[in-house]
Amino acid sequence: MNKEELAPHVKEIARVLGNKVDESRIEEELDNYLNVYRVSLDTAKRSVVKNFGGDPNALAKGNRRKVADLKGGEQNVDVAVKVVTANPKEIEVDGKPRPLVYGIMADETGSISYSLWDPQRIALKAGDVVMVRNGYTKEYNGRVDLNLGNRAIVEALPQDAVVADTTVSTPMAMGSGEPMKVAQLADGMNNVTVTARVLSVERKEVGEGETAKVVFQGMMADDTGKVQFSAWHDFELKPNEVVKVSKAYVKGWKGVPKLNFGERAVVARLSEDSMPDVVSSRPKPRTIEDVERVGGATDALIIGTIVDVKEGSGLIKRCPQCKRVVQKGACRLHGKVDGYPDLRVKAVLDDGNSTLTAVMGRPVTEALLGMNLDECVRQAKEAMNAEVIREVVEEKLLARPLELRGNVLNDEYGLMMIVSEASPIRVDVQARAAELLAETEGFQ
């Protein structure tokens, strides 16, 4: 790596170190790691930050994205783009004029409109090729916008670093006010219309003092799934009534889509029997892919086969102070502790199209094993090895087709289901086979 290529990384390290360290010193160190010791760029950057007493975690996590992949509601977006247009504008905020720059940015996958909220700090002009760090996206009227706020950083890149394709239009997301099913709701959607039954609702106060707000939170469901909602205005929602909510928006929490609606929203009431009973009925099975597409799910039912039981499954010990898993007699936080026994399973569920990690706590594990915790402890003592329980878990779960029910979150490791209920599949294989046969033979 030559000096020019190092420059943006030196700048990033300097920023993480609060610009307290001379850039030439950072450059020297980084150059040493990269060109003498030949470690990877990430390792080098982390090491340099550490050597100067900084926090390596503050380095951009490298949420490197391509324009075409951007969706609404993303944080810490890093994207290398060419500025296609940059238009200064003045808007009024709290009665005071405030400058703003808006326009279009593009990379080889497409173009996106952007807003630069702090043009006094960051200067952009048409034709610049830059790395935007810590940007965030919002969806407005079905269009995804890239925002450069007060945390954004712009680093100059060489002109040939980005080949801009401005022929591909801005990514569009759903949410044009058309009615949607609960299972289709995804993080970042705006202007959503949903018809669902209110399952529960609770009045809550959030925030303090002047910023305190009242919110009505609860659960809604239609025949495709359940979703948590937050109503930021009192629509006098009552359990069991069927409502059609328009102009709502969706925000994700760890990938789980949550429906939000405020004063602007319209809530219409439908007759209670206009929707089948979705409270007591079992949720309809959904595919992993389907949940993946929207980021997560509340109380979903997924059918698949356990293809791996991960380490740390079976009989474990937890720290009495923080409940963390105790490994080799020591808690990561509290050192040597006398842990208490617990059961859990971490397994991989695979449905042939996608996979997710299934996490099962003690009650679910006990039910699957057909054995309670005390019995497990007894057997482990007898064998003088806790691993025997893990073996039983493998034997009972591996290669078993199962129906798992629970909330599905999405984090850096991918989809994860917190299993609330696990049972053998209730698929009538013969009936399904007969149906499929009729369909298939109909083709011939």
């Binding site: 086969t305 791996d308 042939g352 996979t355 290669a399 087709p401 698929v427 298939t440």
Partner: protein, 295 residues
């Protein structure tokens, strides 16, 4: 995040017809075997009957070869010291057994143009018949999805992964189908459709050849027309014969079965029908030609 490679559901016939491997580029990048119907396989899940198992290595360094049969053909497994879990599990197994295997595909090309595929298991587990039947159903569904994707792609010029995704197919499948069509040319989907139909009939005993009465009938048994096909009773008789004659554990000799069945009043033609029905139901199999063994 690098996602876990999913476990594809493919029948042996489709798997073994694969002749295209796409090597991963760069360190640790996974390789994929592309089947004629566009499955992009790195990992598979299969459930079938373990029929043969041999240690062709030594006791200290075992190398197990195993065969697993599904309704369409045979999967070949090889498991050695680098698959400790699967190797230990296989060492304890006595065929025949219903087994589930999670494994990675391996290819061997002794010369240009030929390719042998096998599976290196990560996990091998004895399962029950319900798990096998569910796998067959799932694999029928997955195969039909691939057939449909290939047929849609054949209508496009040129086939496009993006268009397939728009039609609702998953990205790995869409990519696989485009690569498969590029390599295999026009795939005979009709042949695979027939394979799925046969596999579905395998799950439906009343469809597979002779009728087998499923539910208890009100009509006394004597009235039943014997000409209609082998009754469950006669199947039981033949099963009994096969079991009795299998003294070595390597199967009963066919000629002995014929003579014993004759003594029980079952003619040769009827015996053929009965054994075919038993084979279809997966209750017996042929370990070697001319022998029959109970599963």
């Amino acid at each position: 995040m690098i996602g876990r490679e999913l476990a594809w559901r493919v029948f042996a016939a489709e798997f073994n017809s694969s002749r295209l491997e796409i090597k991963g580029e760069g360190e640790k990048a996974p390789s994929h075997l592309v089947t004629p119907l566009g499955a992009m396989i790195n990992r598979v899940l299969l459930v079938g009957v373990l029929t043969d198992i041999d240690n062709i290595g030594t006791e200290e360094e075992p190398l197990w070869r195993a065969r697993i049969q599904d309704p369409t053909g045979t999967f070949y497994l090889s498991s050695g010291q680098y698959q400790p879990e699967a190797t230990a599990a296989l060492a304890k197994m006595q065929p025949p057994k219903f087994v589930a295997v999670v494994g990675k595909c391996r290819t061997y090309s002794p010369e240009e143009g030929t390719m042998y595929v096998s599976i290196r298991p990560e996990k091998v587990q004895v399962v029950d018949i319900a798990a096998r039947d569910f796998w067959v159903l799932e694999t029928c569904q997955a195969t039909m999805r691939r057939i449909n994707a290939v047929e849609e792609a054949l209508e496009m010029s040129p086939p496009s992964a993006e268009e397939l995704v728009k039609l609702g197919y998953s990205l790995p499948l869409a990519n696989g189908v485009v690569k498969a069509l590029d390599h295999y040319g026009e795939v005979e989907t009709q042949r695979y459709r027939h394979m799925v139909v046969d596999a579905l009939k395998f799950l439906l005993p009343e469809m597979a050849g002779p009728e087998v009465p499923e539910h208890v009938s009100d009509i006394p048994e004597e009235i039943e027309d014997e000409e209609e096909g082998p009754s469950a009773d006669k199947e039981q008789v033949v099963l009994g014969i096969v079991q009795r004659l299998d003294k070595t554990g390597k199967g009963a000799v066919w000629d002995d079965i014929v003579s014993e069945a004759g003594k029980a009043g079952i003619e040769r033609d009827e015996l053929d029908e009965i054994t075919n029905s038993l084979l279809d139901k997966g209750l017996v199999y042929e370990p070697v030609l001319g022998k029959m063994k109970i599963i």
